[in-house]
């Protein structure tokens, strides 16, 4: 697929393509960053050739290690395939952001298997938890013991790389009945303090499991207090928001903000409202890999908004 730029709607990813993408679940997107503004350089295969000198990172999501139902009897095998794609990249991404649901049931063996396979990439991982990573008996201890070092609260944190400020948020904890994803007052106060002294020209990448904006309320696809986080981010010239949870691509550009949800490496979910409920979507076995994938992200010099295209596992 050719390089896409969502900022130019005339030539960018069209509505039809986005809608087609909406039924995918996927591997990862390669992003590169050079000079301030992140944009994707295409599918992973394209990205390798397109921006060999750029700062790039990957987004992977919803690995659901331990899932073994009809929609994908072996979620570890499809993760291995996704990691195989990463290992084959001639220019290694700087790191991988995982936007949650590493495991299906927060079991130690599931975390172990995921760690082992992700370890094969030889690339640093930055995680945020999904709701499936927080369902051990001790309400998140299993996740925090492994990935919580240096994080605050339920596992949120920030770091800087190549002049970009990265913020990992947790919106899967202490959920309220009838509500959506939840950041909570403590985390929002932390976010405000974290952003306070940063200049408007600092490129920001925010990643969290459940979409921060409300994509489909009826299925709980959104974050109750997400707009409060977005209000804090509004003044920045470049904000990229990466989420998972819905196991399909959804992309939107709003002012200086670009929203992107990643494919899963485990199983697809139906497009909003196209089925009685969310959940694993059964597709023909020979088609499954075209619904799974990963995303690559590149930062380039310029003033263009982020464009993101994802790579599926299908060969």
């Amino acid at each position: 697929m050719a390089k896409k730029d969502l900022g130019d709607r005339g030539q960018g990813l069209g509505r039809r393509e986005v809608l087609e993408c909406m039924v995918w679940a996927g591997t990862g997107v390669l992003w590169t960053v050079s000079g301030g503004v992140p944009h994707s350089v295409g599918l992973i295969g394209d990205a390798i050739a397109a921006e060999p000198t750029g700062f790039s990172f990957l987004q992977m999501s919803d690995s659901h290690i331990g899932f073994d139902k009809a929609a994908n009897p072996d979620a570890l095998a499809t993760l291995r395939e996704a990691v195989g794609i990463v290992k084959a990249m001639p220019a290694k991404p700087s790191f991988i952001i995982h936007t949650g649901d590493i495991t299906h049931l927060s079991k130690p063996a599931q975390f172990d298997n995921a760690d082992q396979v992700f370890g094969e990439t030889g690339v640093q991982m930055h995680y945020v938890p999904g709701e499936h990573d927080y369902i051990d008996e001790a309400n998140g201890k299993a996740y925090l013991d492994r990935y919580g070092k240096g994080t605050k609260g339920a596992g949120w944190y920030s770091f800087d790389d190549h002049g970009v400020h990265f913020i990992g948020l947790v919106n899967v904890v202490d959920l309220k009945g009838g509500g959506l994803g939840n950041l909570g007052a403590e985390q929002l106060a932390w976010l405000e303090a974290d952003l306070k002294d940063r200049s408007n020209s600092t490129p920001i990448v925010v990643f969290a499991h459940i979409p921060l904006q409300v994509l489909y309320k009826e299925w709980g696809w959104g974050t109750e207090d997400g707009t409060q986080a977005l209000a804090l981010l509004k003044r920045f010239g470049s904000v990229t928001i990466l989420n998972g949870h819905i196991h399909q691509l959804a992309q939107k550009v709003e002012g200086n903000m670009t929203f992107h949800t990643a494919l899963s490496t485990a199983f697809p979910q139906p497009a909003p409202g196209s089925a009685p409920s969310p959940g694993p979507m059964l597709v023909p076995a020979d088609k499954l890999r075209s619904y799974l994938g990963l995303a690559s992200i590149t930062m380039v010099q310029g003033n263009k908004p982020l464009a993101i295209v994802d790579k599926t596992l299908a060969t």
């Binding site: 709701e131 499936h132 959920l175 009945g177 009838g178 709980g220």
Partner: protein, 126 residues
């Protein structure tokens, strides 16, 4: 009630003759009838809520004090049962796992799925 006892007795009659005789000799017909009543009441005291397609069914259930409600998850995705007022909270229920809670006092108990909080339900205990 009479019908239920009759049904109980006819079930006994289907047992082997020898076992039926032993039961009859040991318990006598009156004790047998009492056991039948107890069995029926125990059965009545459990109500089921199923979870299919991210939905609690029935979404609202009215039960008597002392009733045990059993939630069973039929989805391929784990769910949980969390009372809004923290009176009860299940662990994550994988496919076909269940959670039971006995309601000892009257009241309205709203609950939701701790993983997917848009899923809600209500138990009214009278």
């Amino acid at each position: 009630m009479r019908n239920l006892i009759v049904r109980f007795c006819s079930r006994l009659a289907r047992l082997s003759l020898g076992r039926a005789l032993v039961v009859a000799m040991l318990l006598g017909p009156v004790t047998g009838a009492t056991l039948a009543v107890a069995a029926v009441e125990a059965q009545d005291a459990t109500k089921a809520v199923t979870i299919d397609n991210f939905t609690f069914t029935p979404p609202e259930l009215t039960v008597a004090v002392g009733t045990t409600v059993k939630w069973v998850n039929h989805d391929d995705i784990p769910h949980s049962v969390v009372n809004k007022d923290k009176v009860f909270r299940s662990k994550a229920l994988d496919t076909d796992d269940s959670f039971s809670y006995t309601f000892a006092s009257a009241g309205t108990f709203e609950y939701f799925c701790g993983l997917h909080p848009h899923m809600t339900g209500k138990i009214i205990v009278k």
